[in-house]
Symmetry: C2
Subunit: 412 residues, 2 copies
Amino acid sequence: MPVLVMKFGGTSVATLDRIRRAAKRVGVEVAKGYDVIVIVSAMSGKTNELVGWVGETSPMYDAREYDAVVSSGENVTAGLMALTLQEMDVPARSWQGWQVPVQTTSAHSAARIEDIPPANIRAKFAEGMKVAVVAGFQGVSPEGRITTLGRGGSDTTAVAFAAAFEAERCDIYTDVDGVYTTDPRVSAKARKLDKIAFEEMLELASLGAKVLQTRSVELAMRYKVKLRVLSSFEEQSDDAGTLVCDEEEIMESNVVAGVAFSRDEAKMTLVSVADRPGIAATIFTALSDAGVNVDMIVQNISEEGRTDMTWSCPVDQVKRAEKAMQDAKDGEIINYHELIADVDVAKVSVVGIGMRSHTGVAAKMFQVLSAEGINIKVITTSEIKISVLIDRKYMELAVQALHDAFDLDKAA
Amino acid sequence: MPVLVMKFGGTSVATLDRIRRAAKRVGVEVAKGYDVIVIVSAMSGKTNELVGWVGETSPMYDAREYDAVVSSGENVTAGLMALTLQEMDVPARSWQGWQVPVQTTSAHSAARIEDIPPANIRAKFAEGMKVAVVAGFQGVSPEGRITTLGRGGSDTTAVAFAAAFEAERCDIYTDVDGVYTTDPRVSAKARKLDKIAFEEMLELASLGAKVLQTRSVELAMRYKVKLRVLSSFEEQSDDAGTLVCDEEEIMESNVVAGVAFSRDEAKMTLVSVADRPGIAATIFTALSDAGVNVDMIVQNISEEGRTDMTWSCPVDQVKRAEKAMQDAKDGEIINYHELIADVDVAKVSVVGIGMRSHTGVAAKMFQVLSAEGINIKVITTSEIKISVLIDRKYMELAVQALHDAFDLDKAA
């Protein structure tokens, strides 16, 4: 029997009624002849409640105990989902991470899946079980302790199972009906994509289109797992949602797949840094140690032994960055003139694998922004993405203008 | 290091504050030099919530899934208790049933503990861990699935650990401060017992003094585990609560240890049953199959091939018993004249191991009741207990009179 993996997030299993609705979807796939592996999250709100209790009990908590507590929400949903399927006469049973076993590293609260031996579940499929309901987000360490994969880890669980069982597809049911060319709240012309390449999805996810956990997309790309994102709140056809897949499977596509943005960015510039070999490493190690997530980095040409270093980071990390740089200056580790922070910027990016074979995308992007009178403060590019920092007040305008200019409201 | 087992029930861990209070009690015992095994229940209300969800999802639920869901409450408390102890600088970790492992039968929702290999926890004690916090009420079947021991099973878990680790004592922290000579709500003269024999406790528990689960007392008796019942809501001295122990350890005791009662009983009489070998087995098998919990049984002397059979059962099972007997009559399995039900009776019992060596206890009991004008409807006796059925309206009077007559308000 071909295997299908279906993952239901917290809002899709938030109540017994929603679990029933999800189970019905599972029943449809079983009727098509699939052996189904269902990955469930905790009922929405439950994990936050547990995390709150742990934090209140022990602010500097032991991550092993955190994992033991926080993983319990998924166990409840898994059992309830199995019972719901049984009520519908679908042979099903629940599996907790350690029962499969989902073998992970010992990095508690941020563990990585190392292996999922499929033998136990395969044996049950062979006996006639149609659905294995697996508690997402959790596993077991080599020491036999419960681990969790970090928030959103159930997506990763789902993809890992799809890889381990060579599933035909991994369907991620969520509260949105797919991946859009941009956020529909910013552009009314945003269009749902039927297909998107893994690489594009990675750039869109890490840029704030929070549909899929980044690690799950990376894993899907590595193991060539076909991922589909679709809504658990709508009746589904076979081609519903958005398929995230290998670029070879996308016959026709726009040069640009989507316009992503990140609203609350800051641009920081260290002015007149005494330049020497390794100075960049010194600066960004200090920022990293201070917990600053640096995104874009630009260095001017060095003149007379001094240079300017510019980076962007989330706006709420500016204070931390300032302290780290001041400490480095006081400790005579970094010599600079001043640190300027612009806290009113946003990042806008165009993303598309088509850029690899089409020239002129960057030039077109800059022309569009210029025509709207929007000044570009920082530019970075990768093979399939061009990002700019601009004044925050122009962000919506920039997204809409780029969406229009690259014809994203029309399918390829 | 000597091992101490401490068990905290649902009301004793109902909030983070109460968990802290319980952890402080654990800290006191650690400071005395004990390696401590703490058994925790779910926060009160949690198990009922989970049971409710399972029932709503699937009225005729798969007990294996029920166990997987319902056991999660104890896992949460175990992790939170371990974190609380760590915050107090007491080296602690949590254990779920399968991690110990608590090996049980496969009788889901009513599993029995078969073995608790102490090696894993002993190894951690040897490494310097002072407290093993174990999720009560749960275990793992030979098939590797999660089992539960039935409601109140955490008491049984605690006693089983005390036996497996040859603990010095098993302290059961609950919301009462010990075992009383009778219910203080019925007799203001009720006195807390310092010690009570296992056999007496068994009779008192099964008669309605719901302090300890019956199975846990049976297990403690078999393995000679010293059990102490005490309140988690009071400051404790070393001799607080009530010690449930082997009768040899009770130097002085009253002939009668306590007066137990059960308010909502019914007396049923099958009049003029055609007597033949095996008729009692036929009647009581039919009642058992119908889910009737028969307690006392009395059979009159048979006359001319016919006899009367009388029994008692909970008053809410009378309808079921009537239907079972009518069905048996209709099916010509049992031939009888009529079935009379008296639904206004209560059971009162005096319990005490002293009866074994003292004569006249029964006579004294009957005299006391007679002097109060209370008619006795049924009598049954065991080695350490005399029970009578009386009209319900006299129950309080009977309990108070017997409590006075046997001097239970005074220590031996």
